[in-house]
Every structure is written in structure tokens, then in C-alpha cells.
Symmetry: C4
Subunit: 350 residues, 4 copies
């Protein structure tokens, strides 16, 4: 039994090759933003309330209309079979057991339909150069029962992830982009001194995504629309004008623009700017972090890397149980019976 | 002779098993708040005054009506026999010799009556599920001569102290909760990967304590009421409305909500919010720290861990002498003849 | 292939003697300002925009009327043959290939005319005691086709660079100040416990340069005038009054007044104070840093040391390609199609 | 030849026993204030001016009417024979050669008359329990030609310097308080776990010095009066009301109240509060530090420890030459012809 989510990374270290560990753990550039995500979260203080008469806090909520046993969704992450043969299915089942939404990545290594059969899911959309494929993905997601569409807007190209470059990282031959078709499925062509994943992304993704495209999606799909990867309040407002029901404040886990602010530092201005659900992503590592995000005004969080490490050691369910236990206890210690009460706590910076 | 309180921890290290050392030293979660308690205290600067004509500063005061030779009380700490067979009696005698109040923990490993016979005492109350036992404890404390009742409000459940979890920490069989009766006395059932103390606490404590319960205590007891574990000024004001004569600003030594602010960072807002005695707890390690707390508006402080380390090496009296010497000298160097004058010093943050 | 500019310093380490490495890398005094240049740049956050419909960002601009493929010029640096026999010619050719201005140092180790034949160049002027030589340099620069005149104003004397002092650093006999004549060309007289370069500078440079002298230059030359080495907005305003078309905010890479502010910390006040091109120098190490400078209002940057390290390993061209790739990608990730759009991004401090 | 004052401490390390090194280097308590003195000075930035037409800066000034070749005086330091048999005489001669005032400590290990014969001196007065001896010292200082009287007000008792306590530090038998008579001369009685110097100080010094006493001195002596050891602007104002012509902002090198602010952090408020000379003491280690102090409004600085380290290795003169060279160069690089111009520079915090 792990006593903190950090332990899963240690456990996974011996189970995974260096290239995969670096692909999961790394950030872009000099990893300034990657580090700052944690520095900034650790500095957030939450002032507990006492004598609130809370006997059993209820961390349940709804996220974009999806009931969630806690204000957490599994972040969309590519190629989960990199860490375990059961990959997305294992993590989706764990999410289902934990009662939280699982977000299927466009770049999942198993077909979205198989994953959607395992859990309450949302579908994360990368904008591909092939618009017919985009349409197909949107339709397939809806048919498979995904209950929200999350459009990632911070990857016009992949960030310069130097670990992958130095490792000349490429996917093993049995890990593919299972939702795509033809050549788009493969990120295996090894090039010395380059990331095959970045090369594949550059070939497959449409870099010039614009607000007009988001409007097109809004019209094309009836699913609740979430825009992931916003840090500037001006963009958050515009996303809501276009029809987004949710914003994910994220710097892509420090993997895109190095030098971008810590996502938690960008959160409050966006919460103030818009009247929709705001989720925080990038750096969440404990139930305390969830409490921090909620106290700063988030509706919930996405959590990624710790769940991959846990999946690698067959412990995704245990990780989510632990996260729920941490959050529930943090709510108890903060005197909050419900998620809504957490937003009334006073925050500070250490 | 130790030259600083820090030395007692070093001395005790060889006298105590790892599990006990970790139980005393540890904090909850990633110990962010534990560390921040010291970082924040170290950053407090106090600007001395000169030529004040002080020849012999007088650090004496009263705390909640109890005369105190210095503005310090021994913090309530559970199971003091963990560190020494003489446990609470040894530390209470040292407090008595030093002329300061000793606060008896609900979870003392020796009966409160025996401890109260040794010193000027207050009684610290944890709210137990068994209300008859709570009533009995309040009555016993009054009868034993305790002169104040300190209700701890920040332990609806015990914080996740990972050191104890990793050590599967349990009490040795001869250390019991001597004030409780029946099964409530024991925290010995070892469970791999869990803290037996946390398990016992969860079984014995009433988690849903509310303001109504505090009112009930207020009516039930004539003793001055102190509420321990407040960080939010809104709670401090309400405690005073309910009838508290004192507030202990405390994050339980970083052992409850990890991510809570350093108690010293919460102090000033509470001093400003209420018109009653405000004590600071969590992180006090020297006479300079006492000066800092007083200069920030505290009436006094509680000090815990350093006294346990000193007790472990039969030096509780020496530790309190040293603390008094440090404080007296700090007052001298700051040009303050009395505790009241310390509050006139200017503070800053380095 | 290097994946970051930092790697060139590592590569060059084995190619260069310690004295040269220290001469290039070192700062003055206790190197507080040298370090702070990086600390301050790393703390600048830039908030990206999304869905801007950018498919291929264009980093081109003009700097002082010179077209530049990116908002970067090669900083003027003395004695480039210290790192490679091809010295200035190699780096100028790389600048030319990269489409950016190369700034010829008064203390170049190859004649300015030979360098100016290789690239679009500006000429950097140190004020020599021999005014006839100053006049001659100004004339030669114009005749050679340099398109701007950059007067360095922060070296009345050379800063105390303790690494050079400790190394008793002197130039090898085949490296000379090729633009000067007679005794002025040599910085080879070794003196134990002193920097021969500093001694030479003290002999050759006129320390008492004043605003009147700058006016004299303004009248003497028709080239656009840039003043390099300004940190105080009052000086920036005066430089513009005297006729400067550009300001370089610089602390000379931490090599002059130790204790001076990080140049990036001085940037915004100068951008606000003047209505001319403002370039940032000192500490730029990546395309992200260029983005930071532009977002803070700079028109462009000078970059120095990383290009010397790259030149030492025959990789100046590669370094500039990498810098351009980093900047272009950073613009892409920040949603900026043009250099002008970068100035609209929101900056912060981590 | 040392290239920075820091080197003298390294050089002295092998020349001095540990007890002496610790006595000189140490601070009080946990040495928080000792460290903060440097942290705060390093954080002060000074923005240089350019094109000021300065050819040879003149660092000369007057300090309390005494001409000084630079705005620096040798801080009063006890028992200088601890580091060298020539002790005070060596350092006074070096001060004389450097053209700056030497401040004779009450606790000098050579008679004040012998020291005053070597240099322009001020006399530093500790307030002794024996008022006749105080009168005698004041008279002797005036007769010996000391041109100012500096009353130290921050040592009612000596700070708890734990290094001395742990070393059971006592003076060697041939080092005495040469200005005192009878038993007062000796700090040699070794007590295990105590500082003999502290014991001696406690016996000899009058702890209850007050403003009335300062008034008495003011009437008793015609010499300009400087009050050393002030951090609170209220005390600075009162000192001036009593007739002080100068204030030394000092925390006694971090040796008295641990937790006091860095002296440089206390400087500006005092400069703003009073209209007299304000000197900065505590932490000065370079000419850059002198520039920082002047730019923040100080009239000059005292420098202590680096000169003791230098004296230990027969290099006090060299150290003062180096300091002057550093300051002159810093003024040159900052564009300041005179000490007065330094005060016009803009300061900041890194």
C-alpha cells in the first residue's frame, strides 16, 4: 500500500524503460514551467475552518454534467499502453470503479469505443490535418457514449521535450494511435536526435487551429464542450462566448510553452473572468492539491502522470482510492462537508 | 549543558527508537506545513529598542488567569511515557519548577489527577464519541484543580502522518491513554501500513464537533475556556462570541491539514480580529521565537516537541531554564522590561 | 545536434583552455549580477494565447533599419579568435546565413573590413584615448558598409573580473586587437595577479566619456546610433534626446558593475521611458528568452556567450538555427504570428 | 595579492585557532541575523549611470568632521591581539595609511593612547558599571586626540554566541582589556560550556543604560557623539534630539539580538527619519557594499571582520587598498565622481 501518490513514480521506475519514463515525466525546454507547477502549488495555503459539525465529507460533484465521486477526472494522456499492456482499459476501469470521468485521448493506444465501454468517458480531441478524420472522431465519440468533448488548444505543435529528443524516443511497434487510420497511426520512425512522437504530431496535427474551428466544432457536436489549455483570461472569455461549458486551465503539464506560468497561478484570474466550470490541470499530485484548486475556485481537476505510474504497477485503482481518501480527509480537516464549501476557504501564498 | 533547544533533539535521537522519534517529529502529508512553520518564524524580524534603562527584564505574565513566570505553557502532548517512564510527571514537575502552566492532554499516559498534583495545570480536551466520558473528564479536570479548559478543535480525525503509516507505528503495551476507560485506552493494535494511533483516534474521537458542542462545554464548565487549533479569524471571532477567553493559533505542529498556513502567518489577523488572549503554537523553538510571537501580538506561546526531546534525556527542567534565559536576554537586547513592552516592537519579514 | 544552446558550453569546455573559458564565462566581482541575469529571466512568465490560427509564425523584423530574420543580433564580443582561428569571420558568416546582424567589436581580432564583407554588420565603438583613432574607426566602419554604430557606454574601465585576475589572463600572442594600431593592439603583457586585458583596456580606453562626446559622434556619423549599456531610464531618455535611435539595455553580461540590476529587470522601465528601439542584452540563452524579452517590450535581443561556445566547436550556424527554431516554436505555442504580436502577451513573475 | 576581501578569511583560517576564528566569525543564537546581513546586502541592486564624464572618481569625504579618504571607518572591535601580536596598532597604522578613521574599542587589547598615536581615531565607549572608569575613559580618549565618541548602545549584555559557548572560549592570558583596570581587564576565567568573554562583559558592563545616561555623556564630552547600534527610527530620532551627530545603523554584525533585521534593511527608514550622518555597519564585505550603502543614503560604513582576517595575515593595508580600489572602480562604473553623487543612484531589490 502506497501512502502517497509520489510512491507510484518510484515503484514504476523499475518497471519502465528510461525512454518511457522520460516521455511521461518530462517537460519542454529547460523544464522551468514543469518545476514551477509544483513550486506554485506547494506555496498555496488553505486556511481550515473548525467546529463545522462535519462527520463525513462528501467529495462528490458533477463535472460538465457527469456525476463524479470526487472533483477529479483522469487527464487525457496519449499511448497508455506504453506503461502497461492493459493501458487505457486498465485506467478507465479504475476510473469507473472510483466513480470519476475518464478522458479518452485522441492518441489513445486502444480504440475509443473499447475504452468508452469501460467507464463514464469524455473524448479529448486533437485537431488533425485531415478534417474528415476529425469529423469521424467526433461522431465515434458521441456514438460510443462519451458525454463531453474536450478540445485541446495548446498543441499547435508539440513542445520541445528535450528528454525525448536526447533519447531519440520512438514508440515500440505495438503501441499505435489506435483511433487514427493509415499512416497517421504510427510514431515509430526513429530519427537520431529527434522525438518520433513530435515528428508524428507535426505530421498529423493541424497547427493553425482558430476560433472559427472551435465554432465549427460547437455546431458540429451536441456534447458539452470543454476547452483545454487556456492560461489567458481573454481566451477563457472568448471560449465561453463560443459556447464552451468548461475551461481547463493547463500548461499541458509543463510540456508545451516553457516559460508559461504555473497553471495554478493562472487559475484565479480565469475563475474571475468566466462563468462556467473551470478545471485545473498540471501538477496535481495529492488530495491536498485538489483542495487547493477548489479553494482557489476550480470546479475540479485533471490528474495525469501519477495515474500512469500507478497503472504501470497495476495500481491505478489504489491510486484513485488514495486520492479520494486524501481529499476526503483534507475536507474533514478543513471543516468542509461539500465541495461547494471548499470554495469558501481562504487561500494564501507561503 | 545544551546551548540551544535544538540540541535536545540530537541528544534524544540516540535515546529513542525511530518509531517514537518519527511520531514526535513528524507532520502530515508532505510536511509542507511542518517546514513552513519554521520558515515563517525564521523570517520574522523584530526591531530592538535601545537605551531603555532595563536592568532585569521581567518575563512574567498571566495566561488565562494563571500566573506564569514566562509567557509560555507546555503544549498538550499525548503519551509522554513514550519518551520516558516518568513521562507527564517529569515534564509537569519541570513546568512547576519553571513557574509555567502545564497542559494535560486527554491522551496523557498517566492519570490527569496525578499530573495535576505536580503543577499548575490546564486540561486539554479531545471530544470523544462517548459524551459521558467527556463529562467525566471535564469534571475530573476541575476537581483535580486544572484552572483552564482547552478544547482542541483541529482533530476531527488525525492527519495523515506518513512516517507513522510507514513505520506501522503503534504504542508499546505499557503506554496507554490513562484518562480513558475500557477499550478506549489502547492504541496498540498493530496494522501493517497504518498508524495504530490514528486508528485509535478514529475510533475514540467524535469527528463532528460543532459550535453547539462548544456552547455546551461553555455552559457545562466554569473554567476559563481556550479553543486550540484556530487559523481563520472568522472562527476566532465566533469562539469569542461563544465565550472563549483564549484562542490558540495553531496548525497542530504541522500534523493536521498539510497545506494549512504557518501558524505565525495566521497570528496577526487573529490578534486583530478578537479581544481575548491569543496564544501561538507550532514551531516555537527558542526564546527568540517567543519574542517574535509577543511582538506580533500574541499573549504567549505553547511549546511542545523540544520539551519531549528534553524529557527523553532527563532535561526538561534544563530546557525550560534555557528557554527562559533566552527570552530574558532577548527582552534585554530588545530593550523591553516587560512582556507588554514587547508588543510595542516593530516586526518585519526578512 | 545540440538540443539546447546550453550544450555548446559543455562541448566547448573540452576545446578551450581554462583561461579562455573563464574570460568568456566570467562576470565581475562576486558575480551577483551575472547570476541574477539568469534568475530574473527564468522568473519571467509569458502567458500564451490559443486558437490564433497561426500556421507558420514569422520571426522576421527589422533592427535599426537592418532586416533581421529574427529579432536577434550577434552581440559585440572582443577577440573571437580566442575560441577559434576563424573567429569573427566564422561567426559573421553564421549570422549572415541566419539572416541577422553581426555587431563588430572595436576589439575584434580580425579587421573590421574583413568581417563586414561577410555579413550585414553594425560597428561597436569603444571610446579610445586617441580620438583620431576613434574618427578613423567610425569612418572605416561606414566605408566597410556597417549599417549602424553602437557606442558602448558602460566600460569607462573594465569591471573587476576576478577569474581573469586569478588566472593572470593574457591573450595568446596571435590574438590582437586588429582594428587598432601600434601598441594599442596588444593585450599580452602578462602580469601576475592581474588581467592583461584589463590593463590593456585601461591604457587604451578613454574613461571620461560624456554626453558631449555622444553628441559629437551623432554629428560625426550618419549611421543610426545605438547606445549600449544603459540601465537607468534617465540615461535612456537623454540618449534619445541626443539622437540615439536605439538603446541596448545591458549590464554587459554581468561583467561591469557587480550589483547592477539584472538587465531584464531594468527593461520595462526603459521601454516605458523612451520611444525608440530597445534591445535587451545579458543572459539570453534560448528562444524562450527572446520571447520573454519581446513580451516585455524589447524590439530584439543581443546574444553573445552561447555563440562563442558554438563557434569554438564549429557550430555557430547550428546554434543560430536552433535559436530560430526555438523562437519560432515559442511564437507558435504562444499564438503569435508576428514579432509585434508577442508584445501583446501578458507577462508575470514566477 | 588577494582579489577580494573574502580571501583574507580563507588565508586567516590556517593562521588562527578555531576558538578565535569562531569568536570573530560567529553570530548570536541560530545566526539568522548574521546570515541575513549578507542575503539582504546581496539583494540590493544599484543602477549605474553612464556618460557622466568621470575620469577619476573621488571617494573622499568627511565622517563626523574627520577627513576620510573613503567613506569607511574601521569598526570598533575588541581584543585585536587575538589575531596578531601587533593587534590594534597594526590595524590603526593601516587605517592611517589608508586615510580613514580607526575606531578604538573600549575593549582594545592595547592602551587607547598607544593606538591614538598611530591614526585619526574615534573612541568607542561601552558603558561600564564603574562610572568613574567611564569618565576616565572619556577623558583619556579626548586627551589622546580621539576626534569623536561612539557610544555602543546595543550591548546591555552580550548576545548568546553559541560558538563561544560551545568552545568554552576564553582569552589567552596575554590578551587583556588594556584600557580597563583591576579585575575588569580579564576575560580569562574559563568556565566549561560558557564564554568567558560574555561572563566578563556581564561583570563589567552596565546593562541598564538609558537616554539619561546618553544625555550625561553629551554634556560630559565636547566630542562629536555617535550612537552605534540603532535599528528603530524612533530611537534614531531620539538620539539626534539628545545631541548625537551620527547614528550607526547596526545589529552588531549579527552578534546581539538574533532575529533583528539585517542592518541594510533598517537603513533607509533611519536615513529618512533623521537629519544627521548615518553610518551602516554589519556585513560590509566589498567596495560594492559601500556603494550600496551610499546609494541607500548612508554617509559611510564601518567594516570589521574582513580587516581582522587581513590583520591576522599582515595584510590590513592591502585589504584597505583593495576596498578603496573596489569602491573607486564601482563609482567609476556607476558614473559617480563623488560620494554625494552615489546617493542619487536608484536602488532596488533583486
Amino acid at each position: 500500500m502506497a501512502s502517497s501518490l509520489a510512491e507510484f513514480e518510484e515503484l514504476a521506475a523499475s518497471a519502465l524503460p528510461l525512454g518511457v519514463r522520460d516521455f511521461v515525466a518530462g517537460g519542454s525546454g529547460s523544464e522551468t514551467t514543469l518545476r514551477q507547477n509544483r513550486v506554485a502549488l506547494d506555496a498555496v495555503t488553505v486556511c481550515p475552518r473548525v467546529l463545522a459539525g462535519v462527520s463525513a465529507p462528501d467529495p462528490s460533484t458533477t463535472l460538465l454534467g457527469t456525476p463524479a465521486a470526487m472533483p477529479v477526472a483522469v487527464a487525457p494522456m496519449a499511448y497508455q499502453q506504453l506503461v502497461h499492456p492493459a493501458g487505457e482499459l486498465a485506467l478507465a476501469r479504475a476510473a469507473s470503479m472510483a466513480g470519476i470521468p475518464y478522458i479518452i485521448s485522441t492518441l489513445s493506444s486502444q480504440p475509443l469505443e473499447k475504452i468508452a465501454a469501460e467507464a463514464a468517458t469524455w473524448f479529448q480531441l486533437y485537431w488533425l490535418r485531415d478534417r474528415a478524420m476529425v469529423e469521424s472522431l467526433i461522431d465515434r465519440a458521441a456514438e460510443a457514449g462519451c458525454s463531453a468533448l474536450m478540445v485541446t488548444v495548446d498543441v499547435p505543435v508539440m513542445g520541445r521535450r528535450l528528454r525525448d529528443v536526447r533519447n531519440s524516443f520512438q514508440l515500440p511497434s505495438d503501441v499505435v494511435a489506435a483511433n487514427l487510420v493509415g499512416e497517421q497511426t504510427e510514431a515509430h520512425v526513429g530519427v537520431a536526435g529527434a522525438s518520433a512522437v513530435a515528428t508524428h504530431t507535426a505530421a498529423a496535427f493541424e497547427p493553425s487551429l482558430s476560433w472559427r474551428d472551435l465554432e465549427w466544432i460547437r455546431r458540429r457536436s451536441d456534447l458539452p464542450l470543454v476547452v483545454k489549455g487556456i492560461l489567458d483570461p481573454r481566451d477563457a472569455r472568448r471560449a465561453v462566448e463560443v459556447g464552451a461549458g468548461g475551461i481547463v486551465v493547463s500548461n499541458h503539464g509543463g510540456r508545451q510553452l516553457d516559460g508559461a506560468p504555473a497553471s495554478v497561478d493562472a487559475l484565479e484570474a480565469i475563475v474571475d473572468a468566466v462563468d462556467c466550470e473551470v478545471l485545473l490541470d498540471s501538477g496535481i499530485r495529492s488530495g491536498i492539491d485538489v483542495l487547493r484548486a477548489l479553494a482557489l475556485g476550480a470546479s475540479g481537476v485533471l490528474i495525469g502522470r501519477p495515474l500512469l505510474w500507478a497503472t504501470a504497477v497495476d495500481a491505478a485503482g489504489e491510486a484513485l482510492e488514495l486520492l479520494r481518501a486524501e481529499l476526503t480527509q483534507a475536507m474533514m480537516l478543513a471543516g468542509c462537508a461539500t465541495v461547494a464549501e471548499v470554495a469558501e476557504l481562504t487561500t494564501g501564498r507561503a
